[in-house]
Amino acid sequence: MIVAEQKPLAEIRALVGDAKRVLVVGCGTCVTVCFAGGAKEAGVLGSLLRMGAQLDGNVKDVSEVTVQRQCEREYLDGIREQVEQADAVLSLGCGIGVQAIAEQFPNAIVVPGLNTSFLGKPAAHGEWVERCAACGNCLLGVTGGICPIARCAKQLLNGPCGGSSKGKCEVGTGDSKPDCAWQLIYDKLKAQDRLHLITEVAPPKDWRTSRDGGPRRIVREDLKLPSTGGQK
């Protein structure tokens, strides 16, 4: 899932600025599950914006609405009227959601309430960890199900480096020290008697499938619908 966290309130208030009518838009998918931008969070933020404005001697008309997923236009269609009535739209979606709203409502002033951080999973209630770097060419089959692109600080394909110590990466201190991905890979493959997967030198990665190749796009011809007035 996409993992995000709310921007500091001071930053959000600065982004909203003088806008009188503010629509806070929550998202019911990833950011709900990481407690950053769901309906509850939208409600709390709405209250804070109203009260904060009042304490400053201003009045802000802040309302909240949450859609199932901000990244799909059908769900955004339902909030068109509210968006058109607002002076500013504060999106609590991930970066994709913010942009989707901006694309669908070109006249709206849309600002982000979250910092979208990574693709990951909950490690425990209240803790999320990065697991995938969306490199576009998954190699988990040869690394025992542990990703060295996302989890190794140096993205080594022939790790570990000399800084791996007691199963931890050299980066970070104390609790924030990540596990050494290559220690995990070695342990897993050794336990499964599959070390042969890492005894040959892995060649340089083709980064074209990753963000380095430019903004990406996937098209499935078998799914594309005929356009109105088309041949089919």
Binding site: K154, Q155, C161, S165, G172, K205, W207
Partner: protein, 332 residues
């Protein structure tokens, strides 16, 4: 050992002729002053077969390894250029290597590089387009196949470096390290320099496994050694540096060296003397281990110690070689 496929590296020749090799390190300055490099080079001249020029070590910006290497060469040293994977992509690496070779560099050490959060520019984007093992493969490819990493043939002079890599015998996972070293041999590395060795028995065990795997028939291993400056330095390395194994006996020996000496200057001198002595003894022990082809002497910010250690360890003078096999111009 494919050491001398057209390289005119002195280090390659020394190893080829079966001499016990000595390499050391020169840290470039955090500024643009060539005199600093020249002064350090003059200190080290004659003490080693080749001198590593570090590359933004600990992710702190310093004069580039290649530039400092060229200056050092003018002073009669044979440089080993260091290149990390942290700061350059494969284009910049190959481009720099073409230039380095054109400027007379003949040895390259391929490293992953300390993470930039350790250094003075933690906000930087790190590169890691390829890793150190792939870098070894790439540099060997430039030499042996005359091709760039993309497969395109190099028309005209191709760089023919003597290629090195680093290994930490004390890093985790301990059991995997000899196999990882075997991978570096497969990638084509000619020589290896290890992290500082203080725990000789553990290093002996590491070397035994490495020799068993046949790795020492494919490349030359130079054991890392270094004089300790003080007990504080010893404790720091034991407790704060990941992957370093400094036995308590060594820390205690350093502490004992200063006991009973009131005068600070005299105490400092006593610590340094003991640090040097331990280093010299260690060199003696490491020479006896099967598979150790030389030493890599690291005297961090203490280049003065290099001539002292090499002299006492009876490593001087360095062997003379036929003039045409050496890439170094004669010192003027």
């Amino acid at each position: 050992m494919n050491a001398s496929n057209g390289t005119t590296s002195r280090l390659a020749s020394i190893l080829k002729h079966g001499h016990f090799a000595v390499t050391t390190e020169l840290g470039p300055p955090k500024n643009a002053d060539p005199e600093i490099v020249r002064a350090k080079a003059r200190l080290l001249r004659g003490c080693a077969d080749a001198v590593n020029i570090t590359d933004n070590q600990t992710a702190i910006v310093r004069m580039s390894s290649i530039a400092a290497g060229v200056i050092a060469r003018q002073e009669g040293l044979e440089p080993v250029i260091q290149m990390t994977c942290r700061d350059r992509n494969r284009l910049a690496m190959q481009s720099d290597l073409l230039g380095a070779y054109a400027l007379g560099m003949r040895n390259v050490l391929c490293l992953s590089g300390d993470h930039q959060t350790f250094g003075n520019h933690p906000q930087a984007k790190n590169v890691h387009d390829i890793d150190s093992m792939q870098l070894v493969q790439m540099v060997v490819g430039l030499r042996d196949r005359g091709c760039f990493q993309c497969g395109e043939e190099i028309k005209g002079d191709n760089p023919r470096f003597f290629v090195g890599a680093a290994e930490n015998p004390f890093g985790d996972p301990f059991d995997w390290r000899p196999y990882r070293l075997a991978k570096k041999a497969k990638a084509g590395a000619d020589f290896i320099q290890t992290q500082l060795v203080f725990n000789v028995p553990r290093f002996r065990e590491f070397m035994r496994r490495v020799v068993d795997l046949g790795v020492t028939e494919e490349l030359s291993i130079l054991a890392g050694v270094g004089p300790l400056k003080s007990p504080a330095a010893a404790r720091y390395m034991r407790d704060q540096v990941p992957g370093m194994d400094v036995p308590d006996e060594i820390v205690e020996r350093m502490e004992a060296a200063g006991r009973g000496i009131e005068d600070k200057k005299a105490r400092t001198a006593a610590y340094r003397e003991t640090g040097i002595q331990i280093c010299v003894e260690m060199i003696g022990e490491l020479r006896e281990i099967k598979g150790v082809a030389g030493i890599h002497l690291m005297a961090i910010e203490w280049e003065d110690a290099v001539p002292i250690v090499t002299e006492r360890a009876k490593l001087l003078p360095r062997p003379a070689l036929e003039p045409e096999t050496s890439a170094c111009p004669p010192p003027h």
